[in-house]
């Protein structure tokens, strides 16, 4: 199970790469392997104002569907449009090409509430 050390995590199996007040987010390697082949992703809209824990999109696998929750509050500034045509990127490269959205963080203190890689490893082991 790949759990990179430089990322923050949520109990709902999202990851966030924090860069200043920007967060790039997606779902974890564990989440994609549990879901199986992802066939469709409903992305949030650029400009959406979101609060930590909001369902901002959905991931549809062959047999199930899961909501994607935002790890931080803020404004959606970019979405990974490549997923519209290639949802399998979430399976192939969940921490890279399979990213879902970039969010401008409105409350930096929320970052402290996220899990680090050690905590997350314990959660999924």
């Amino acid at each position: 199970m790949n759990v990179p050390d430089n990322l923050k995590y949520t109990k709902n199996h999202e990851w966030a790469l924090i860069d200043g007040d920007n967060a790039t987010m997606g779902i974890t390697d564990y989440a994609q392997s549990e879901l199986g082949d992802v066939v469709f992703i409903e992305l949030p809209a650029v400009g959406d104002t979101v609060s930590k824990g909001d369902a901002i999109g959905t991931i549809e696998a062959v047999k199930t569907v899961a909501d994607v929750y935002t790890p931080v509050s803020g404004e959606v500034v970019e979405i990974n449009e490549a997923l519209n045509d290639a949802s399998e990127l979430v399976n192939k490269d969940p921490y890279g090409e399979g990213w879902i959205a970039k969010i401008k963080i409105s409350d930096l203190s929320e970052i402290d509430g996220l899990l680090d890689s050690e905590d997350y490893k314990k959660l999924v082991s």
């Binding site: 469709f40 696998a61 199930t64 569907v65």
Partner: protein
């Protein structure tokens, strides 16, 4: 309904099996005072011969399109239903099965639904259709909800000339969703789109229009889709499927979602149901479509097969975030529509539509010359239904007509108080020249 005889021995056996002596023992939990109040003086049991005769006599009192000449419409029409339709849908493989969707055991049902969807797409000129919904009204309500979900906006503009009963259902569906319904103005029997651009803002999810509208008039919907597109609002049309034999389809008009009452497609009026909710949309919206969708695929041996697809939209997987809380369809009625459409074909549907058009215009022309009668919408094109201003209250004409086995039409006073002298008349392909002439003669006496 079947007659199921019940002998004293059978009754005894049943009671024994459930562990009581007498039927009354099953009622011990009900306080005696209430039981006494419930005493119903039922007549003595009858034999099968007697009860059949009794029920037949009762049924004989009913008046329906089968033993009258009917000009009733307003959403449910007396169209011809070929005998083949009833014969085929009465086969027990279709008639008794309740949603037999397990792909491996229900290829016949799934294929028939797939054929239905394909025909609806052709008829509506749309890219995707679902396996059907309850009726036209719920189909339009689902279209409104779908538009709200897609656009994330909370207001729908609607034509005031959508069938008022359908508007009631729409209001019921939207009541707890904090969605605002705004009625456009009307002018001379048509929706007034003059101020449409001004009414469009970033709250408007969709515009819903019925054409031919409730009064039978054909709305001019050319270019409406472009105006809506500029505001990123969706265009939803509600149509009469028979009219599509000659009128522009929802697809040609650029509709994003199309809904219809499917009753005219081989389904009897049956005192109000079951009917058929027809629902179609653009392919780009397929993941927001409510209800079931059947798709074609191949099995491990490469043979053609059918399965339910895109089920992650539905409530058994998506729970409260499903596209709709209705996850069933009108399977048997969808089958009736499929059989009807395959029987009449493209040419036949055009023929049926033309007969409706010709018959209704023939009657309308005759009424125009009747003393005391008037046509309020003289130069507005209509399809098979039109409004007549009557010299006496419409109710009087309707009531007297029933005595002569004529259903004269709908009393519009039911819907608008000031319309007590307006009669809504529908003429289908079933009406003969003689029947229409006789009706004119009947009307001329008022």
């Amino acid at each position: 309904m079947h007659y199921i005889p019940n002998t004293a021995e059978v009754e005894k056996e049943i009671l024994q099996a459930i562990g009581v002596k007498r039927f009354e023992d099953l009622l011990v939990n009900i306080p005696e005072g209430f039981l006494k109040k419930c005493q119903i003086n039922l007549p003595f049991p009858l034999s099968e011969i007697e009860i059949s005769k009794h029920i037949e006599n009762l049924a004989g009192i009913n008046k329906h399109s089968g033993n009258t000449v009917s000009f009733l419409g307003g959403g449910a029409y007396d169209h011809f239903v070929p005998a083949v339709v009833d014969f085929l849908i009465s086969r027990s493989e279709f008639y008794t099965a309740y949603t037999p969707y397990q792909a491996e055991v229900s290829q016949g049902t799934l294929q028939s639904i797939y054929e239905y969807q394909s025909m609806i797409c052709q008829l509506m000129d749309m890219e995707v259709a679902n396996a059907s919904l309850y009726d036209g009204a719920t189909a339009l309500a689902e279209a409104a909800i779908m538009s709200v979900n897609i656009t994330r906006r909370n207001k729908v503009l609607i034509s005031p000339l959508i069938n008022p009963l359908v508007i009631d259902v729409l209001r019921t569906y939207l009541y707890n969703r904090a969605v605002e319904i705004e009625l456009l103005p009307e002018s001379n029997g048509l929706t007034d789109f003059t101020d449409l651009t001004d009414k469009l803002d970033d709250k408007v999810a969709a515009l819903l229009v019925q054409s031919p509208n409730f009064l039978g008039n054909i709305e001019n919907l050319n270019g409406i889709n472009k105006i809506l597109e500029d505001n990123k609002s969706l265009f939803v049309t509600y149509v009469d499927p028979i009219s599509l034999g000659i009128l522009k389809s929802p697809g040609e008009l650029g509709a994003d979602i199309a809904a219809a009452e499917g009753q005219p497609l081989g389904i009897h009026q049956s005192f109000g149901g079951p009917y058929l909710g027809v629902f179609a949309a653009k392919k780009s919206l397929v993941r927001k479509v409510p209800g079931r969708i059947v798709g074609e695929t191949v099995d491990v041996d490469g043979k053609r097969g059918y399965v339910l697809v895109l089920q992650t939209r539905e409530q058994h997987i998506r729970r409260e975030r499903a596209t709709s809380n209705i996850c069933t369809n009108q399977g048997l009625m969808a089958l009736a529509a499929t059989i009807y459409l395959s029987l009449v074909g493209k040419k036949g549907l055009k023929q049926v539509a033309n007969l409706c058009l010709n018959n209704s215009h023939y009657l309308c022309g005759k009424i125009a010359h009747l003393k005391g009668f008037d046509l309020p919408y003289k130069n507005i094109p209509f399809f098979k239904e039109f409004v007549v201003k009557t010299p006496v209250p419409a109710k009087k004409i309707i009531d007297a007509g029933v005595e002569k086995n004529i259903f004269s039409g709908i009393d519009l006073g039911i819907y608008r108080r000031e319309w007590g002298n307006y009669l809504l008349i529908a003429v289908t392909e079933k009406r003969t020249c003689q029947e229409i002439d006789d009706f004119v003669k009947y009307l001329s006496k008022f």
